[in-house]
Each structure stands twice: as C-alpha cells, then as structure tokens.
C-alpha cells in the first residue's frame, strides 16, 4: 500500500512540473500569468485521466507478469508429469505429516482453553515434603522435570472453602475432582467420566452452555441435583437430542435433572482427557463416594483453580494461599512447625491442567522431529531434481538472458514454479493431514485422546501455509540462483553439455545427495531402534496365556451393591457366565492384567528387618483367576473356594515375592502383613502363604515383574468395588460377547458391561505408542532411502551423460569396461560415504533423546546402526548400478562423433 501511495505522489509531482513548464512557456509567449496557467491546463487535457491510465500501467503489468509466470510454470510442469508427481507427492507427504503432528501438538501443548480470559487462570499446587501431616491424599501429583520436586494439586474441601472465603487476591476460586460414574438413561447403563465441580465452576471459567443452563452456585446442594453434559457425551449417549434438557437421568442410583449441554469446544480442563458430565460437588456423599469427604480437612482430594485479579503478582497470591492452607492444616493436626506447611505454587491455567501435556509432549516432539526430517528430505530431493532439470534448460535460459531478459525476472519465474509445486503439495498435504492425525490418535486411543481437539483449523492451516512457503524457498531458491548464473557463450555453443558451470552444478547435486543420505540414516537408525523395541516387547514372556481370552469391566458398587452383597453378586455373575457354551473358565481380578493400573501396599514379614522399599503389588482376585490366565502354581496350592470370609487370611505370592522376602526358600506356610511396616496399627494380617505362582506381568509389558500377592476377593469384601472379568473360551473370544452381556443383564440390567475386548487387544493397545513409532519411523525411513536413491541415480546419470565424450576417449585409449564402471561407482561411493559420515554421528547424538522409549536396546545399538548403514549402501549401490552399466556400454565411436 505504501508503495502505491508513494508512486501516486511521485506521479502528481511529475505532472505538476510539466504543467509549470508549459505555463512558463505560454507566459514567455506573452500571456499574463493567470491565463498562461489556464492555457497550460487546457493544452494538457484531462489530468485525472492521464493519472489513471498511468497508474494502470503499473498494476496491470504486475498482474500480467504474475499470470504469465503462472502459465509458464504450469506449462513447464505439465511437460514433465513424472517429475511433477514425485515432487508434489513427496512434498504433500512431508507437509501433511507435519500438519498432522502440528495439529496434535497445538491441541495438547499450545492451544488456550476456550474460556474467558484464560491467561488469568491459575492452578493451585503445592510441593510435597515428608513433614506435611497428611493421611488421605488422592493423586494428581507429578514430578516437575526441571526442579525434581513432587508437585501435587489436591487439597481438602474445607481448605478450598477457606481459600474461597479468605483470598481477595482471586476474583473467583473453583474446586473440581474427576470421578468415574455410572449413568442409567433410556433403559441402559454405562460408565461416564464425571467431574465433581463447585457451583461456581462455569461462572469462574466464563463458559456458557450450548442449550439449557450451566450449573450455578445454588445447584451446589446435596438434594435437587442437576448435571451438565459435554457436547461429545450428549451426541454419543443422547443422540444430540435437544429435548434432553429437563429430563431425569440416574447417576450412581441418584436421580439428576439434565440442566444444560456445553459447546463442543469445551472439554474440561484436561486437554486430551475428556469429561462426559459435570455434577455438583456437594453430591459426593449421595453418589456413594465416602472417601471424598466434604468436612474432613485431613482428606485431600479436590483440585482448585482461581482467577487472579489484575495487578496481583503470583508471589503475593502464593503467600496468601500458603497462609490459609497453614490455618487449615493446623485445624486438624494441631500445632505444626512452619516447615510442615508446604510451599504453594501457582501454575498457569491458560492451557489447562498439564498432566496429559507432560505425558504427550515427549512423544509429540519425537514425532515432530521425524516429520521435520522427512520434509527436509523432500526439500533436498526437490532441490536436486530442479537443479537437474535446470541443466536441461540451460540453453533456453542462456538464450533468454542474451535476448535481454533480466536475471531477476528469470529468478522470479523459476521461483513461481517452486511456489506452485509447494502450493499444490500444501493443498494435498492438508487433505492428507486429517487421516494421518487420525492414525496417530488411533494408536494412542488408550490415552484419552478421543476428546483431543485436534482439528485441522485456521491455526494448522496457517502453519501449513507458512511451511509450504518455507519449503518453496528451501528447495527453489538455490537451484534458481545457480541456474541463472551461467556464462552465456559456452552455454549457447555447447547446448549445455560440457559447460563450465555444470561442474559446480554437479558438485552441488552430489552434496545434496549426501545430505539426503545423512538424513535417511537418521531415520533408518531410529526405525531400527523402534522396531527392535517392538520386537523385544512382543517377545516378552508375559507369564500367562493371552489367547482366547475375553475381558470386560464392571462396577456394580455404584448400583448399590456393597460388601458381602457385592461378593455374592460376583459369584453369581461368574456362575452365569461360566454356563455360556464355549466358556472354559471365568476369572476375576480387581484390575485387569496389562491394563496399566496397579495397587500396591507395604509388606511386613515377622522376624525380617524392614526396608523402606518393602512393597508388594496386590491383585484381589477369584480362586479361578490363576487357572484362567494359565499362570502355573509351582509350590503349594492355588486359591480355592474354601478360602472364605470366616477362614484364616490366605494369599498366593509370586516367585519374585518369595525371592525377595524369603530369600528363595519355600515360603508356603509362612505369614506376612500388609500395610505400613512403621505403623503397626495399619497392618492387616497375618496372611498365610498357601502357594507360589510363576512370575507373570501385572501392570504392563515393559515393567519388570514386581513382588505380587494374589488375594481372594471373598476375604476382602469391605473395599470391594470394580472387577475385570477374564473369560477363557474355545471359540473366537468376541463371538461370545453378546452372550456375556445377556448373562449379566439377566441378573441386573442396570449393571454396565464396559470395555469388552480380548486380552490380546488389550496387550496390543498397551503397545500402541511403540507400534506407531515403529511403523511410522520405518515407513519414513524407507521413503527417505528411496528418495535418496532417486537423487543419486539422477546425479550419476547426469554425470555419465556429461562425461560421455571423456568416457569414449578413455575406452578408445584402452580402459576396460570395469575401469569405466569403477569411475561411476567411485563417484557414488564418495557421495554416499560423505552422507554416512555425517548421518551416523548425528544419529548417535539424537537417539539418546529417545532412550526412555526403548526396550531391550541401547540408543547406540550396533545392530540398528549397522543395519541402517548397510541398507543405505545396498540401496545406493542399486541406484548407481544402472548409470555405471550405461557408462560401460558407451561406444567410443559414437561418443566421439558428438564432439
């Protein structure tokens, strides 16, 4: 715009000067000053029209040139469809992969929550230390990777109330706690991710509902409860029915009224961890969650965020929160030292709560690096192809330069071509990004990614656009520069062949191929490491047999079954399912194997010195569990139906347990206690060991097997809640899923049957990230190697064509075909070696960053490195073979006749 204005002023000035001169002339001819000016104006004609037409010259010529360049570029690209296809497809893949990963990265790490003034939000956290007098604490802690401190985000409800009353530094303070609930509506029951929230939650966030109304402070009463649904749940569970407002639904056996539905963008405070419905926090007791106390200041379970008032510093607010928290701790713990009051930290809440972020970020960064490399390779490859093509056009360009075309004009034209390629690649890339992002999310489905707001939106499009532009500059500029810098006369004479500039161009081409080889090695080493990790993981002996097992989860405790009544229900469910034709046996455990969750407790063995690490994983299970999973009992006996509530407490332990606590001696008949060994009052037992089971994996495939105690659920009825059923069949497992559902519904149709899948699926899902990385990085590596081979072929083929005469002379002078082949192979070997020399050390430096993702291989794994290098050598040797043979077949007579 500025440019235009300046030009306009310039034109005005020019025309005014002309008029003045004309007037001066008229005056000299004898006219009075005033009349002279009029005469000049009359003679000049319509000044505005002159200005208009002059201005048009500029606009039109500019547009005209753009149109010409574009048409020229299109014509050139249409003339070589193979080149265009390779260029566009490799760019599309590179840009698409980067856009997909960016959209994920953006959703998890960058995007702000869709709430009012997100930058004002602060999450209240505190730093763990041993002195804090605290007995019941519900999770949501994480280790700060920078400081090494353990940060927790949970407070007691009375502490939250004290914050709300006493902290003028915040304009609003909100409490919330996630909890899984059972929702019964329309005759079916299922699990839903619920969130207990204080009544001011939506006011504090500034979030409105799509239909109906949000929860309000006056909803926060134990009676008359209302719920608000998220858009996703409303769609999934209620078919997006607008009539749902005001309808009654049953949550954990309590009637609730649906008050409103939230807009689709709002998914709670945890990006990537979805919420289905929000319920008032005062209903925790009515919903049967006794360990979430609203009155006990010693029970820390609510998370708190606040809206900091403008002008208040974080440090001021932290001090105020800590003072109030100290008061709350002293209310139940009496006089405690100042050191026992934990330090308070305010974390920015603008992007939501960071737990998912921490878990996702490292994987996403690795993916971005892999995608970045593939795009870089695509760019290098294209630069090389363009360079090769430019040589073919050297004659044309020389002619145009000598006819008076300016170099800038030619540069612009060549650059338009790159820009066109990049734009088409970018558009295809965007189309490709959506399915690619879906693939990544599919592999990570177990991580709550279903709710991730990873759309290809304006932000991702802006990213893609800048990326396309950047690639155009990266691959387009250097060849264009090179091409237009030619010495005219030899280029005109020799038709390009043998021209001096082409030696520099060949050198540049070889360097580009070396870069491609180096980048390919990076990806191939990574692929080797991830594939070997996956192979190692799939070879792990789990200690149980996962084939032909169907599993599902249920928790009837939210339907009013507790204690003995629940234990009896489980017994009946088990009998009913065992009666289904094709079922061999039915086992139950409070968490499923390889599900990723675990329970553990301290271990005390009488007569043995207590060590702080004395712990055991617990699995509360049925007597049929070990048999159903095919975990062999190597000493003593399995659990049995006679280990009932009245009898002595018993357990089967695993080999690691026996080794750790009984130094490998036969522990059958020995006893131990569970609980905190330092606190005798907390100990439960004695528990008699009746058998030893072979080691089997519990939490996951990666973890080494810890000491495990298998405890009969019939003796632990007081805390009994959810169970995972494992059903061994002779049929394909999923074929009996319907019969299992009917069997459960036949006993109580309100009991949900959730997460129905096979044990093998469960294991596969637990390795989703590893499979994704192995698959993605391998295919990227293969593609990179292929592109490098194409690049090398191009460079060598060109080199042979250029040196045909030289080769002809050599053969005429007595060089053997072997000599000539070696000439070409040597060039290839030099190029590839340079790439390998650059790529291998770079890979060595980079793979250390993925160490935590590997299993059974070190980042410097010799097999992966040797494999990558060998593969590169083989692939490039094949690429070099064709031009080498062509060189050997050169007929000296024909070659020399050209000169």
């Amino acid at each position: 715009m500025r440019w235009h204005r300046q030009r306009d002023e310039d034109l005005d000035r020019e025309l005014r000067a002309h008029l003045d001169l004309e007037a001066a002339e008229q005056q000299a001819a004898g006219l009075p000053a005033e009349e002279a000016r009029h005469a000049a104006r009359r003679l000049f004609g319509n000044a505005t029209l002159v200005k208009e037409t002059t201005r048009e010259v500029w606009v039109w010529t500019w547009l005209e040139r753009c149109r010409h360049d574009l048409r020229y570029a299109l014509r050139i690209l249409r003339k070589s469809p193979v080149f265009t296809a390779v260029a566009v497809l490799s760019l599309a893949l590179g840009i698409g992969a980067n856009t997909a990963v960016f959209s994920l990265l953006d959703a998890v790490l960058l995007k702000q929550l869709p709430v009012r003034d997100p930058e004002q939000l602060r999450i209240l956290t505190w730093v763990h230390n041993d002195k804090v007098p605290l007995h019941s604490h519900s999770g949501y802690g994480m280790r700060d990777l920078k400081t090494g401190e353990f940060i927790s985000g949970s407070f007691s409800y009375p502490a939250y109330q004290a914050f709300y009353r006493n902290l003028p530094q915040f304009s609003d303070l909100v409490a919330y706690a996630p909890y899984q609930l059972t929702v019964t509506a329309g005759g079916t029951s299922d699990y839903a991710d619920g969130q207990f929230v204080s009544g001011n939650y939506f006011r504090g966030l500034g979030v409105q509902t799509l239909i109906g109304r949000p929860l309000r402070p006056q909803d926060d009463t134990p009676g008359g409860p209302a719920v608000v649904l998220t858009y996703r749940y409303w769609e999934k569970r209620f078919g997006a029915d607008p009539e749902v407002i005001g309808r009654q639904i049953v949550v954990n056996q309590q009637p609730f009224t649906v008050a409103g539905v939230l807009p689709p963008a709002f998914q709670g405070l945890f990006p990537g961890q979805g919420v289905d419905l929000f319920v008032p926090i005062e209903t925790v007791k009515a919903l049967g969650v006794p360990w979430y106390s609203l009155t006990n200041a010693d029970s820390w379970w609510v998370q708190v965020f606040g809206r900091l008032k403008p002008g208040v510093s974080d440090a001021q607010a932290e001090a105020a929160v800590r003072a109030t928290l100290g008061g709350s701790i002293r209310d139940y713990a009496g006089k405690v030292s100042d050191a026992a009051i934990p330090q308070v930290r305010l974390a920015s809440g603008a992007r939501g709560v960071g737990l998912v972020r921490a878990r996702w970020s490292s994987r996403l960064y690795i993916l971005s690096v892999a995608c970045g490399i593939i795009l870089l390779i695509a760019c290098v490859n294209l630069a090389n192809l363009l360079l090769a093509r430019a040589t073919g056009r050297q004659h044309e360009i020389a002619v145009r330069l000598s006819l008076g075309a300016s170099r800038a004009r030619l540069l612009r034209q060549l650059f338009t071509e790159s820009l066109l390629l990049a734009s088409v690649g970018g558009v295809l890339g965007v189309l490709l990004a959506k399915p690619l992002a879906a693939v990544v999310l599919h592999y990570w489905a177990g991580n709550g990614s279903g709710t991730l707001d990873a759309r290809i939106d304006a932000r991702s499009l802006a990213f893609t656009f800048s990326l396309a532009l950047l690639t155009a500059v990266l691959f387009g500029l250097a060849p264009a520069w090179r091409t237009t810098r030619i010495d005219l006369s030899p280029a005109m004479k020799g038709g390009g062949r043998g021209a001096a500039g082409s030696i520099a161009r060949a050198r540049m081409g070889r360097l580009l191929v070396s870069a491609q080889v180096a980048l390919s090695v990076l990806l191939l080493v990574g692929a080797g490491l991830f594939v070997r990790t996956l192979v190692n993981l799939s070879k792990v002996d789990l200690g149980f047999r996962p084939e032909r097992l169907l599993t599902f989860q249920t928790d009837p405790s939210r339907n009013g079954y507790h204690g003995q009544k629940l234990a009896d229900l489980y017994t009946r469910l088990r009998q009913r399912i065992a009666a289904i034709p094709g079922v061999v046996s039915v086992g139950m455990s409070h968490v499923g194997l390889i599900e990723g969750s675990e329970t553990d407790d301290g271990v005390y063995v009488p007569g043995r010195r207590v060590r702080p690490s004395d712990e055991s994983n617990l699995l509360v299970c049925s007597d049929s569990f070990l048999e159903t999973m095919r975990i062999p009992v190597v000493m003593g006996r399995d659990l049995s139906s006679s280990d009932g509530p009245g009898g002595p407490l018993v357990a089967v332990v695993n080999e690691t347990f026996a080794k750790q606590y009984f130094s490998g001696k036969n522990p059958v008949g020995e006893t131990f206690f569970l609980g905190d060994p330092k606190d005798t009052a907390s100990l439960a037992g004695p528990i008699r060991i009746v058998g030893v089971a072979k080691d089997a994996h519990y939490t996951g495939v990666r973890e080494t097997v810890p000491p495990i105690s298998y405890l009969p659920y019939t003796q632990r009825t007081e805390n009994l809640r959810q169970m995972t059923f494992a059903i061994r069949t002779v049929l394909p497992p999923l074929s009996i899923a319907g019969a299992v559902r009917r069997a459960v519904a036949g006993i109580d149709s309100t009991i949900p049957v959730a997460d129905v899948r096979t044990e093998e699926e469960q294991i596969d899902d637990s390795l989703g990230t590893e499979r994704l990385f192995a698959g993605l990085v391998s295919s990227f590596g293969a593609l990179a190697a292929l592109l490098a081979a194409i690049g090398l072929y191009g460079v060598l083929a060109y080199s042979v064509a250029r040196r045909t005469a030289e080769i002809g002379i050599r053969i005429a002078l007595g060089a053997t075909r072997g000599n000539v082949q070696w000439l070409v192979l040597r060039e290839s070997l030099l190029t590839v070696s340079l790439g390998l020399l650059l790529g291998a050390p770079a890979a060595f430096a980079l793979t250390r960053l993925v160490k935590s993702m590997l299993y059974g291989v070190t980042p410097a794994d010799a097999v992966s490195f040797a494999g990558a290098v060998l593969l590169m050598i083989v692939v490039t040797a094949i690429a070099a073979w064709v031009p080498a043979r062509r060189a050997a077949r050169v007929d000296p007579m024909v070659a020399l006749r050209y000169e």
């Binding site: 310039d10 000035r13 020019e14 002309h18 029209l49 002159v50 200005k51 037409t53 010259v57 010529t61």
Partner: protein, 118 residues
Amino acid sequence: MSKASPDRIELLQGTLDMLILRTLLFGPAHGHQIAKHIQRTTDEVLKVEHGSLYPALHRLERQGWIAAKWETAGKDQKREFKYYRLTATGRKRLLTEESKWKQLTHAIARIMWPAEES
C-alpha cells in the same frame, strides 16, 4: 500546441515507445522535454498526447528499459524534474524495435511504391 491542425498525424500504435527510447539516446530528459523534442524534430507533425506519453513512460520504466531519477534542472536549481534515462536493456530493446520498424516500413514501401523500390 494549438487546436489540432490538419497536417498533424496521429502516432501509430506502438511507435511512441520507440520514439521515446530513441529520444533518450541523446541523454536523460524529463517528460516535457521528450514531448517537445519529438514535436520539434518532426516540425510539429507528430503530436504527442499527454494521455499516452506518461503511461508509456511508466510502462517503459516498469519493463526496465528506462530508469527514472528526480533531479534539478540545470538553470533552475529550485525545481526538480523526473529525468528518464535509457538502461542497457533499453538500448537493446531500441535496436530490436528499430530493426523491426525498418523491416515493416520497407515491406510497406515495396507494396506502396513497387517501381521506386527496385
């Protein structure tokens, strides 16, 4: 430049560019000078319309055949004029235009006055 007199000829399409380039061969000049020079050299036969002079000047500048610079005139140090001068590519352009023009006029002449040509 009084009212159009009958012995004045409208410029042929496209020839103005060539005439401007040729005029600038003598050295830098501003718009007024160029117009005056063309008129004076042709004894006022060729008439340069301002409505086509300035667009033509700017078009040539855009093509890079002439370049412009603001300078004070020799006698009048106070006033600045936009002086145009021929560039190297402009010189080449003039040569091609000239040879094209020669061919054209010869061709036309052969048809119009066949006897005189031989």
